[in-house]
């Protein structure tokens, strides 16, 4: 599952929560509508968090005359070459691909189209994968025009729904069953894809690699917030461990608000 699919779902969540988004999804016509072609990271949360790129082709391009003809107004034109331009903003949020915890075991269903005219697609197979996914993300809150949007990112990731899949089978839940946050000054997270599941019959666990990194203090346990089913019976030195996902997020938000000097969690207008 691509990071773009997750980013799309995040933007759609913001739209449904009435944040101002620049790329508005019309669910009736199945089209994205761009509200402001010039983009505005102050006004729109998606322009700020996810970034954008506006490109403009050259409007006029005349390539002619060599140096001998230059200056002769009647015979030669002055070289007039306008360049295209692009305005871009690197988003504050990066999202990696979601990958399955267990390998695909070739499960398929056999289907028949009901009603209407029968054609060569009347009988068909569907491949499906009964699994969990894990993915990583990183956010630089100092790059946000409005730092309080970090809470909208966390809320969005906790409530994310429509990620990838068929248009009409968006019914599975992509919000995390378990999560690991690291609130740090370091340049790289060191713990991406830290969930392991050795078969469908057993529950996922935290990778031994992450546990070792905390034990040898390469990762400061105090920087970790772990929530959800994965936290059951988990002991990790100094880490903030919560069985409840909401408890973990609330505690993390409290620390973020303190460190970024944010006084409230309310979304900006």
């Amino acid at each position: 599952m691509s990071g773009d699919a997750i980013r799309w779902a995040l933007r759609y969540y913001w739209q449904q929560q009435c944040y101002a988004v620049n790329r508005f999804w019309n669910a009736d016509t199945f089209k994205n509508i761009l509200i402001d072609e010039d983009f505005d990271p102050v006004r729109f949360i998606d322009d700020d968090v996810l970034g954008y790129m506006k490109t403009e082709a050259a409007k006029e391009e005349i390539i002619e005359e060599d140096s001998e003809t230059q200056g002769k107004q009647d015979n030669g034109k002055r070289s007039k070459k306008t360049k295209g331009k692009s305005i871009s903003r690197l988003g504050a949020l990066g999202v990696n691909r979601a990958i399955s915890l267990t390998p695909y075991n070739r499960t398929r269903t056999f289907n028949a189209k009901s009603g209407g005219d029968k054609d060569r697609t009347s009988l068909h197979f569907h491949e499906y994968h009964n699994t969990r996914y894990q993915y990583g993300f990183a956010l630089d809150p100092n790059h946000l025009k409005d730092k309080s949007r970090i809470f909208a990112v966390i809320d969005g990731l906790m409530s994310i729904r429509k990620v990838g899949g068929h248009n009409n089978v968006f019914c599975y839940d992509f919000s995390p069953e378990s999560m690991v946050f690291r609130w740090t000054q370091k340049n790289s997270p060191h713990f991406f894809y830290c969930f392991e599941q050795h078969s469908l019959e057993v529950e996922p666990i935290i990778s031994s690699d992450l546990i070792e990194q905390v034990e040898v203090e390469d990762i400061d346990g105090n920087e970790l917030w772990i929530g959800g089913k994965i936290a059951k019976n988990l002991h990790l030195k100094d880490a903030h461990i919560f069985l409840g996902r909401e408890q973990a997020v609330a505690d993390l938000k409290r620390v973020i608000a303190r460190d970024l000097d944010l006084t409230e969690f309310q979304p900006s207008s």
Binding site: L34, G94, R97, A138, K186, N187, H190, Y193
Partner: protein
């Protein structure tokens, strides 16, 4: 001579080939230009010319596997942003499990502090460096998982060195001209397993362009 060694780990990345069009073909290893770009991002430098003259040596610690995915590509064929003709489906190659070491030698640089010094500073004292955004290698969805300072003998496993070779089968850019491609510069390489901890002489690539204003 200012010399540092880094260990870099990236779960997924695509290093788009310079001549690829719709089909997103990837180089098999991170090109020197891409690694240079990541180092500039790490230290918060937006002037790509600033550290011309720096030398990089790369040794692969993993053998990244290549997969092919179908992705939606946006283009602007018509002015209406929502028009379906502005979106097409194309294949893209991605690499999985990229682990490598990169040595940064700043002996030929003319600026102070050098890139090696700035990288060292950024990794040892992250709060002292003004930078923005997440750290990527390749496209801006290919997040770096680990970048850290290491010693030459870090992980004594076999290393496949990126060796300069005029007859090598891997052509990689060491400088990319993002406005047109006239200024893009390539070198040919081969990957060779050599049992040495320090970079062989032929593994060094100098990041430089003829019009570099800092040289």
């Amino acid at each position: 001579m200012s010399l540092i060694a880094l260990y870099v780990e990236v779960p997924f990345a695509t290093f788009r080939q310079s001549h690829a069009r719709e089909y997103g073909k990837t180089y098999p290893v991170p090109p020197p230009s891409t690694v240079y770009g990541m180092l500039l991002s790490l230290v918060g430098e937006t002037d790509a010319y600033k550290h011309c003259g720096v030398q990089l040596a790369i040794a692969m610690l993993s053998q990244p596997r290549k997969s092919k995915v179908l992705r939606k590509l946006h283009r602007f064929k018509v002015k209406d942003y929502s028009d379906s003709r502005n979106t097409i489906l194309e294949y893209q190659e991605i690499l999985t499990d990229i682990k490598f070491m990169v040595w940064v030698a700043s002996g030929e640089e003319r600026v102070q502090p050098t890139l090696a010094e700035r990288v060292e500073q950024a990794l040892m004292h992250p709060t002292s460096v003004q930078r923005f955004g997440c750290l990527y290698l390749g496209e801006s969805n290919d997040l770096v998982n680990v970048v850290k300072l290491v010693s030459d003998d870090y992980r004594g496993e076999s290393r496949r060195w990126l060796i300069r070779d005029d007859e090598g089968l891997i052509t990689l850019p060491y400088w990319v001209d993002h406005v047109g491609s006239r200024g893009t510069r390539w070198l040919r390489y081969r990957l060779q397993e050599i049992s040495t901890q320090s970079p062989p002489e032929s593994s060094w690539t100098t990041i430089s362009v003829p019009f570099c204003k800092h040289l």
